[in-house]
């Protein structure tokens, strides 16, 4: 496999854009990434795109084809990749593989989404074989309740307090306030977070990501091409995809086995381990981590599940400001999902853009000092997960 460089990062800010189509959001991101790389659309040899569930794609998830038609139909191959909330970084893995394998020298990876308002719904079909339908009809348990149950268990096991969870949101919004691409750019405080509406105990509105519109794009190329374009390319150290294991403790339907041990989010853990191994880095080498914080719970649980810190240590790191951009283990300097909201299939790519800007030292007021290695992670419906390691 060849070395792969990430030479262009582009993003349309996250928010709600009633008067813009998903194609317009993607065009903005794609053009910005091309300009950043210093290349033209016609230089792109293939497109790997996240299949959106909610917007564009001709109803078939053909979002990459929409982008190609909009930017100019050059006849390039298009790979549309569907993987729930993990799709953006799954598409990145396709783009990475296309370049690493030697199939193409320059690939555009893109993800864009416009979300309907409110909680993400099931298919809407009353299908008795659909576990999502059974969970909601027989138990009255919507999606966010899952996070809440895990979170409440953590409070029991580690003594995590509601104030500590609120502090995760405060930290996220502090970073988001410094990020021009974030949707929520106003700082908050513990009192305000705990006073925000209780969505599903113990999680409050400010502790759960909203749904947003957004798009992001990354230009990947071979080492040879990269050297023609820049003296300081960012390298893809690792790009991994995994799915959940059978014995995972997070029940995917309404019932499963009592797990033999604590094996939660096995898909994310496997992807992270693989990406770090590919990159030849360990937890101590990570300058920053962009993880999928649909809720504040994940920012406490994931670092432990991946061995970035000891079980129960996440709260200590938080309380001692070690997860801020200037701490020992900076987490989500972008502001994370809490500050961006979730444009589901585009999320993995906004994270990778943040890694790129941080490694180049272009992250402005939220810059992680001397950032050399960054890792991002997504997790999506169907037991999909990804991890990406970028390095200087």
């Amino acid at each position: 496999m060849r070395e792969v460089a990430a030479v262009g990062f582009g993003m349309h800010p996250w928010g709600k854009f009633e008067d813009k189509s998903v194609t317009e959001l993607c065009r903005h991101a794609v053009e910005a990434s091309l300009q950043d790389a210093g290349v033209q659309w016609r230089d792109v040899e293939a497109v790997a795109a996240a299949s959106s569930r909610f917007s564009g794609g001709k109803g078939w998830g053909l979002n990459g084809n929409d982008v190609v038609e909009d930017m100019g139909s050059t006849g390039v191959p298009v790979y549309n990749l569907s993987a729930g909330c993990s799709a953006g970084a799954n598409a990145f893995n396709i783009g990475y593989t296309l370049v690493a394998s030697g199939a193409h020298d320059m690939v555009m990876v893109v993800g864009g989404e416009k979300m309907p308002k409110g909680f993400i719904q099931t298919s809407g079909v009353e299908e008795h074989t659909d576990p999502e339908f059974l969970r909601q009809r027989c138990i009255g348990m919507p999606g966010p309740a899952f996070w809440a149950v895990l979170c409440r268990r953590r409070m029991h096991e580690h003594g995590t307090t509601e104030e500590q969870m609120a502090k995760v949101a405060v930290k996220a919004r502090k970073n988001g306030a410094l990020n021009p691409n974030a949707r929520y750019r106003k700082e908050t405080n513990v009192e305000e977070v705990l006073k925000s509406a209780l969505v599903v105990y113990p999680l409050h509105l400010f502790e759960i990501c909203a749904v947003s519109d957004g798009a992001a794009a990354v230009v990947l190329c071979s080492a040879e091409k990269a050297k023609q374009l820049t003296t300081k390319p960012v390298w893809v150290g690792g790009s991994a995809v995994a799915t959940a294991r059978f014995d995972d403790g997070i029940t995917r339907g309404i019932g499963g086995m009592v797990p033999p041990g604590i094996t939660h989010h096995s898909e994310a853990k496997a992807a992270v381990a693989k990406a770090m191994s590919q990159a030849g880095v360990g937890p101590k080498d990570l300058s920053l981590v962009e993880l999928q914080d649909n809720t504040v719970y994940y920012e406490l649980a994931f670092p432990e599940e991946w061995g970035l810190c000891e079980p129960g240590q996440a709260e200590w790191l938080l309380e001692h400001d070690e997860t801020t951009p200037t701490g020992k283990l900076p987490i989500n300097p972008s502001g994370g999902f809490i500050s961006f909201g979730e444009a589901t299939t585009a999320q993995g790519l906004f994270q990778i853009c943040e890694l790129g800007w941080q490694l180049r030292g272009e992250a402005g007021a939220r810059q992680v000092p001397n950032a050399k290695v960054g890792m991002s992670q997504t997790i999506g419906l169907g037991g999909n997960a990804t991890a990406v390691v970028l390095k200087n």
């Binding site: 409110g118 138990i139 348990m141 149950v149 339907g253 019932g255 499963g256």
Partner: protein, 138 residues
Amino acid sequence: MATVHAVEGLFADTPNGPRLLGSRCATCSAPYFPKSPVCHNPECTESKIEDAEFGPTGKLWGFTFQVFPPPPPAKYDEPFKPYPMGFIDLDDGLRVLGQVSIEDLTKVAVDMPVEMVIEPLFHDEDGNEVVTWKFKPS
């Protein structure tokens, strides 16, 4: 007006009491709820699926409260009353999701011993009482 199940075939009031209706692999003993036509355990050498009943006793692994009316396809009686729900680890090896049936919400606790019951969930358009599986403190 009658009593109907939220979804047919998932649970029953058996001569031994309320049980969940699932299946289990005779080779690797992996539990399935709802029933599965085959064993999905990648470590299992031979799929031998048999009907199995689960419950009634276990522990509440983790919980939350639904504090606002859940969106469709969930259904509830007006006026909406908050309810606890969570993951229940049954003694027979099934981790199952369910509501917790309890009057005093402050008494819900992690690792609380619970027992399966069949109780009303909502009333449908024809006035039928729609029931589901829940867990009460035991």
